[in-house]
Subunit: 200 residues, 2 copies
């Protein structure tokens, strides 16, 4: 078990979890892994960066009945899971860091002290955020959120056998819609400091 | 809407949520309402303090099919709910405070700025805690926890129509088993300070 603690951030789509991760890492002076993971997974798996960015955290279809390969060979999803797990482990081994998504909380659970954070917000707050960030699409923002939540949750359940977004799986769960992104950053930084005090 | 913020702590049985509430209030120099609520509800409703302490946060039977009165008259549970709601509102009106349990998060939701906290821990940590605090009983600690969780959850669902312990219902959810009671106190105090900074 490493003597440092890694922060993993699981987040609902549109909750600002990625931004929180980046700002938090900046505040703490440690790296936040996000694009690095995508680039490394692309190299290891052969998938394009776009494909990984889009599907590295959820299943690539909304038809839940048939998302994972049945039979002997590995699905694209499985290949990506193995590559991502390897990359997450390699990055974690480098030292304290923030890792956003990628089931890092599960992948690292036995080998690292973690601070497992879940960031969420209500549909209204998230809808506003994704329209602001990604613009309007044919699908309503509410529908896009619902699809993404469903896919992310199915992915997490499949690979970890845990319920994604269940408070019981995290040390800290924060409502970024009510608290605001910057408050969440400050809170997690404070919690990290508190926990580390007790780690000594 | 009052200009101060009230901290509500919902907690799993055996998670140390009540102790956290007390220590937190002490640290912040504000009152923590717990026994006061029980005494006031006893006065208002006519039920004994013991009865309220035992059942003011959950249903008083494990037979879920028949817990709430069907028909015109109010059940004991409903009478207690009304009395408790009144008491919670009266105490909240006095100023900043910590309120443990009693669905205070729901009762006060429209009239006060809240910091809604949920405290939980895994069964192992809670079983150890309740045996240490309340001693052994005929029922195993695991079974006692399961019964209490079921009753508290059914009570909360009945009166609030929300899922008790769902991270989405709280601003902050904390694993007291992993973090420890004192860390939780420090974390909530920090979060309260952060949130109040942004309240200004």
């Amino acid at each position: 078990m490493a003597d440092y603690r890694i922060i993993t951030i699981s987040r609902q789509f549109g909750s600002g979890g990625r931004t929180i991760g980046k700002k938090l890492a900046e505040k703490l002076g440690i790296p936040c892994y996000d694009q690095e993971i995508i680039a490394a997974v692309a190299k290891e798996s052969g998938f394009s960066k776009d494909y990984i960015a889009e599907h590295g955290d959820d299943v690539n279809t909304t038809w839940m009945g048939n998302i994972f390969q049945v039979g002997g060979s590995l699905s694209n999803q499985d290949v990506m899971w193995v590559a991502q797990s390897n990359v997450v482990r390699e990055l974690a081994a480098k030292g304290p860091c923030v890792i956003v998504g990628r089931c890092a909380d599960y992948i690292l659970r036995d080998d690292y002290k973690l601070l497992k954070v879940f960031v969420f917000a209500d549909v209204k707050a998230r809808a506003e955020r994704i329209v602001k960030l990604y613009g309007e699409r044919t699908l309503s923002p509410e529908k896009r959120l619902k699809n993404k939540d469903r896919r992310r949750s199915a992915y997490y359940r499949h690979y970890t056998d845990l319920k994604w977004g269940d408070a019981a799986n995290y040390h800290v769960s924060l409502d970024s819609g009510a608290l605001g992104v910057d408050t969440c950053v400050d809170i997690i930084a404070d919690v990290y400091a508190e926990v580390q005090k007790h780690d000594q």
